[in-house]
Subunit: 237 residues, 2 copies
């Protein structure tokens, strides 16, 4: 069994394009004989990327409906450190059950196992195995392959980051100490006036920091700037 993963990692090293990752994901699905395999990520600029074996119809529908915001797999893994079996997630809300029905119709299996991954600057990725089978079968599968999957998830993410770095993007905008102070205060719920008082600067000055931070982050308004700074790990509230 170990030869599988060794061969895979060797082949992964050759890959230099997103297409290559996609093909590898498909080969991996066949190798492990599961219904679906999904790698998807959101980089620091918020751009999504995915290599997966779901039907394109489902992917389009998912994106159109912005299901990433209610999908318990995404929500549940976003802040988690450890891989999680889909059974352990929260499927209780009505909206989610509806989503589940649609997913099932689109050919998504009832069993799933997802591995969250985090990269630099808030980059977030998920590596998911999906299958349709009984709980017992699934338990046997996961027990047998968790280690492999962890390694694969890690390597695939590394490769995706590497390939993406080729597509040169805007450099990571760094915020000045005062800008971080300002955003932190606002994120903590202080009003501009109070925040300025705490930082011992005029309210006007505070506003300059917020403005420049907003500009650097490409944020539409103050709330957005705070949200982006948080999402990118620049501040903690």
């Amino acid at each position: 069994m170990q030869t599988k993963i060794v061969a895979f990692i060797e082949r992964l090293q050759q890959v230099t394009t997103f297409d290559g990752i996609q093909r590898l994901i498909e080969q991996l699905r066949d190798l492990y004989q599961v219904e679906h395999l999904i790698y998807h990520s959101v980089n620091s600029a918020g751009e999504p990327y995915a290599a997966l074996t779901y039907s394109l119809d489902w992917v389009d529908h998912y994106l159109e409906q912005d299901y990433g915001r209610i999908d318990p797999v995404v929500l549940g893994c976003y802040q988690r450190f450890h891989p999680v079996d889909w059974k352990r997630l929260d499927w209780s809300s009505k909206r989610v059950r509806n989503f589940l029905l649609e997913a099932s119709d689109a050919g998504i299996g009832n069993q799933g196992f997802s591995i969250p991954i985090r990269g630099p600057n808030g980059q977030f990725a998920l590596f998911t195995v999906n299958h349709r089978c009984s709980d017992e079968e699934w338990l046997r599968f996961t027990d047998a392959h968790v280690r492999d999957l962890l390694l694969i998830a890690h390597y695939v993410n590394q490769k995706a980051l590497e390939v993406e770095r080729g597509t040169d993007r805007l450099p990571d905008q760094s915020l000045s100490p005062r800008e971080l102070d300002a955003l932190t205060m606002l994120g903590m719920g202080k009003s501009r006036g109070h925040a300025a008082e705490i930082l011992s600067i005029s309210e006007h000055t505070l506003r300059v920091y917020i403005e420049s931070a907003r500009f650097k982050l490409g944020a539409a308004n103050t709330t957005h700037a705070v949200a982006l700074a948080m999402a990118r790990g620049k501040i903690i509230v």
Copy 2:
């Protein structure tokens, strides 16, 4: 070497109080013969807790100065999934270098290794080993003990959560779907008017959601509500 950790885990099971955890941390420091051992966490309500071997003076100073917001160890690990050696963190800013000098004066060693941990509802914890030695010595130490430390970090966090659950806290406030929608839109930078339009409701209605979400989250204003919802993993922007 393995007997060390087995004995530790057994003793850990007996612990039922915060004081017990503190004593165990001290014993662990002696066991591994390092300068300092630190476990600290922030729960879903934002309350900090720590069991550590730093001097109380330094802890007081750290809290008073709110160094948690600039400490590269905290910042760097907050969004990371994997343990990290302090050398790999970003110590470049002036403010940080100053912090480092103060820390060194307070008896904190030059070498460190921190393990981030995440629990339910945005709970975040750090397990850190600190020592004063050369890079080579430190490499030998970490190489020899990473596995142990990972396990210990995990068990200590579990125990801390368990002990904390005893001190019954306010139940986790759940937000309604529409409240989540509203906060998500604002977190994405939409204005109230635009957000209402996207959600196909009146701007007045949107405001009701924001107000109730703010109330539930105990937030002072909209920006705060979005920040809290993000920190608690309720929304993704």
